[in-house]
Amino acid sequence: MESLEALVAHIQGLSGSPEEVAHLHSLLKQADGEPLRAHAAALVPFLAHLSPETHSLGYLYLLEACATSGSNLSDFGGGDFLVTIAGFLTACSADQIRLAPDKFLNVCRVLKDQVMQLIMPIRGIAPLRAAVRKIQSSPEQLTPVHADYLLLCLLAKQYKAGLSVLEDDIFEVEQPKDLFLYCYYGGMIYIGLKKFPKALELLHNAVTAPMSMLNAIAVEAYKKYVLVSLIVNGQVPSFPKYTSVSAQRSMKNHAQIYVELSTSYSNGRYTDLETFVQANSAVFQSDNNLGLVKQVLSSMYKRNIQRLTQTYLTLSLEDIARSVQLETPRDAEMHVLRMIEDGEIHATINQKDGMVSFHEDPEQYKSVEMLEHIDSSIQRLTALSKKLASIDENMSCDPAYLMKTGRDRGRFDGRFDYDDYDSVPHKYF
């Protein structure tokens, strides 16, 4: 067992080129483990000798040993240690730390726990965001750090910070648990930003992900999914075919109240819905969904008013109030005004007559912005199609797949069906 000084010297010496780093890596692995942790207290001053960018790997090992040593981090000068970790995460070199991903993840976990203990989640946001980028091998990969990062953003109410991570599409997942947490927290962030369609997407993924047994995260996600569906679409769609069997069978049993809420909503009577919410507000509160439920309530008015725009050209405020079940025409006026400001309907209010005139959507689809929007959509979708095609190709070359289909077809006699080459889902034709 080398002494610490020798180890540090190695680190400083062998961090030049990739081969040296590989050698260093093997040395470090030998030195790793309990002995290193036992010296944890002594490690800290050595860290000062090392630079996070060039000696990332070594720094990581030492840092991890300190962090997981089990002794209280305040021994290391609490807040400063946090700064050290944060500094490391921001400055480290991506190639080096990818050689030891588990240790990196441990360090991130420690940072998050520490930050939560100190109830200062905002301090963890910048370091973790950098960490996410560093450990991802491609922008489409999901790591455990994603979930932690989103959690901190939520606790610190820094929703916009979470957006930058959420905007990347995720296609590769190592651990299903990460995905569930990611979708759940991501959905909550979008809800906080009032971007309900995107929230719906994420929550939908959480609910319909393949799972052999129901897990609690999926159930919580389902509850929010029901509420957000009601706000966006006015109804909750039934489970699609690809939902796992266990979800289809038992999800609703765990979220019974929400299912009842959605049936009450679909009946269209505001007062009934309101009484239902009042009666069950304790349950909603304990699920932390009361705010969302209140939004569901107000969305009901909006939906009714929007339905009116389809039937009437002009309508008096009293009639609006009556058909939407509001108390007074003044309430109706306020609702309509708010909706006009939010761009949800196109109308003008004539206060003298107490009339509202509804207009058609002025969008003519002729402007330059619209053309650009369409163009970029087309490009995005073409790229997506290509990706889909390439994945399909890879799959068809996979030996396990070929064995299975060869078996099913009897003899693999080289007859190819035209359908095998269809890469786009059929319903879009």
């Binding site: 296609f171 997942v173 995905l179 319909t208 050209l313 309508l315 959507d361 969008e363 997506l384 994945i391």
Partner: protein, 443 residues
């Protein structure tokens, strides 16, 4: 088995002349404020007359009419052999008509005894035939037993017996007879699926059928469709019913009924061209419509867009139609459909319609009309928008170009979202699979 009772002379004349005669008598059941029970009942025979009389008694709400119907029913039942019905009617009368119309226990006993004797005799005969294995006799034996049960009101037994004759039918005439019997019992039992079934069976026999039988089958099919709420099919069957039907099917339906049911279903479900070709220009059906001139006026008014008078006629007919055993549950739906069609047809040719004139045309208030229009617009049956301030209805045609753009963008979004989710799920499954296979390799 037709039982001719004491019928008023005028109604008798109507029955003899069949179609086109005695306008007053045949018109009486339909257009009078008060249904003339006797004339109405005279159109029918057999068990349906009893069923209708009892139904009228239950539903009409006017004591005089009720007692009249019950009285007629009582007399009719005494002429037959159904003991259970006798008990029911006696209970319903409840002594209001005097001692002659009470429960006649002596008669009940006599009839029951006679019935038991006859039943034994029939069953013995049948057993005899069965041992002899003569098909024709067995068939007739079952038929007789079926008839016996029918007369005594044991309908499901009658049904079973008639079904049993099927195995012993040799000629198509036998098959047709069996089908007609089964249809009769099924209508009374309310099992309209069987009715449709056996109608098609009867129509498929290789020999050509007597036109009266064809007409009967069409009418029965129409009735079955009406009761199962398939109004369009019912209308088609009724308008195709041949005029040969006359009064030959009085144990089920009268020709006036064919006219009324057919016209109402057609108004509610046919589009304009069908209405013209199949109902108004249909010579055959015209003969039926002549029997009920009110209904003929109704149809012509609708076609000529005289909605006020059309709806007025409908309202006048309503109370009597509610007393009809087959139509009563469908009256509301049919009326609502006809009204909606009238409104839709009214608004079709115009770009803008003043709601006040429309309200007077439909004899309703502007507010009610507005509500009805709003409902129809929401169901997408009218393409228009209401200007509530000026009370005008403006036709509105969707802008195809904008709609297409919206749809395209929406489809693009849906595609993107679905494919991304799919790739994600595929990836999850792949990892799951890899875990499983690598797990199995680790021996």
């Amino acid at each position: 088995m037709d039982v001719e009772g004491e019928v008023p002379a005028a109604a008798a004349a109507a029955v003899m002349n069949g179609l086109g005669g005695a306008e007053e008598a045949s018109a009486a059941p339909v257009s009078a404020e008060q249904l003339d029970v006797e004339a109405y009942a005279a159109q029918y025979s057999g068990r349906t007359r009893l069923a209708r009389l009892l139904f009228i008694a239950d539903r009409c709400g006017v004591e005089a009419m009720q007692l009249e119907a019950l009285r007629m029913a009582y007399d009719e039942i005494k002429r037959g052999e159904d003991v259970q019905l006798h008990r029911d009617v006696a209970a319903k009368i409840g002594g209001r008509l005097g001692p002659r119309f009470g429960l006649d226990q002596a008669w009940v006993d006599t009839v029951t005894r006679r019935a038991d004797q006859r039943k034994e005799k029939l069953e013995n005969e049948l057993n005899g035939y069965r041992t002899n294995l003569i098909k024709e006799s067995i068939r007739m034996g079952y038929n007789d037993i079926g008839d016996f049960f029918y007369v005594h009101g044991q309908l499901s037994d009658a049904f079973k017996s008639y079904i049993r004759t099927r195995d012993y039918c040799t000629t198509s005439k036998h098959i047709v007879q069996m089908c007609m019997n089964v249809i009769l019992v099924s209508i009374e039992l309310g099992q309209y699926a069987h009715v449709s079934n056996y109608v098609s069976k009867a129509e498929q026999t290789p020999d050509s059928l007597d036109p009266i039988i064809v007409a009967k089958l069409k009418a029965a099919a129409g009735l079955a469709n009406l009761e199962t709420k398939k109004y369009k099919l019912a209308a088609r069957k009724f308008v195709e019913t041949g005029i040969e039907l006359g009064n030959n099917y009085s144990e089920v339906i009268a020709p006036q009924d064919v006219a009324v049911y057919g016209a109402l279903c057609a108004l509610a479900s046919f589009d304009r061209s069908d209405l013209k070709s199949k109902v108004i220009d249909n010579i055959n059906f015209r003969n039926f419509l002549e029997l009920v001139p009110e209904v003929r006026e109704l149809v012509n008014d609708f076609y000529a867009s005289r909605y006020g008078s059309c709806l007025g006629h409908l309202e006048k007919l309503k109370p009597n139609l509610l007393l009809d055993i087959h139509l009563h549950e469908h009256v509301e739906t049919l009326y609502m459909d006809i009204r909606h069609k009238a409104i839709i047809q009214y608004t079709l040719p115009f770009i803008s319609v003043d709601l006040n004139t429309m309200a007077t045309a439909f004899k309703t208030s502007v507010t009610m009309l507005e509500k009805e229009l709003a409902a129809l617009i929401t169901e997408n049956k009218i393409q228009a928008r209401i200007d509530s301030h000026n009370k005008i209805l403006y036709a509105r045609h969707a802008d195809q170009r904008n709609a297409t753009f919206q749809r395209v963008l929406q489809t693009g979004n849906d595609f993107e979202r679905d494919v991304k989710s799919m790739l994600l799920r595929a990836n999850l499954l792949k990892h799951d699979y890899i875990q499983k296979t690598s797990g199995s390799r680790k021996m």
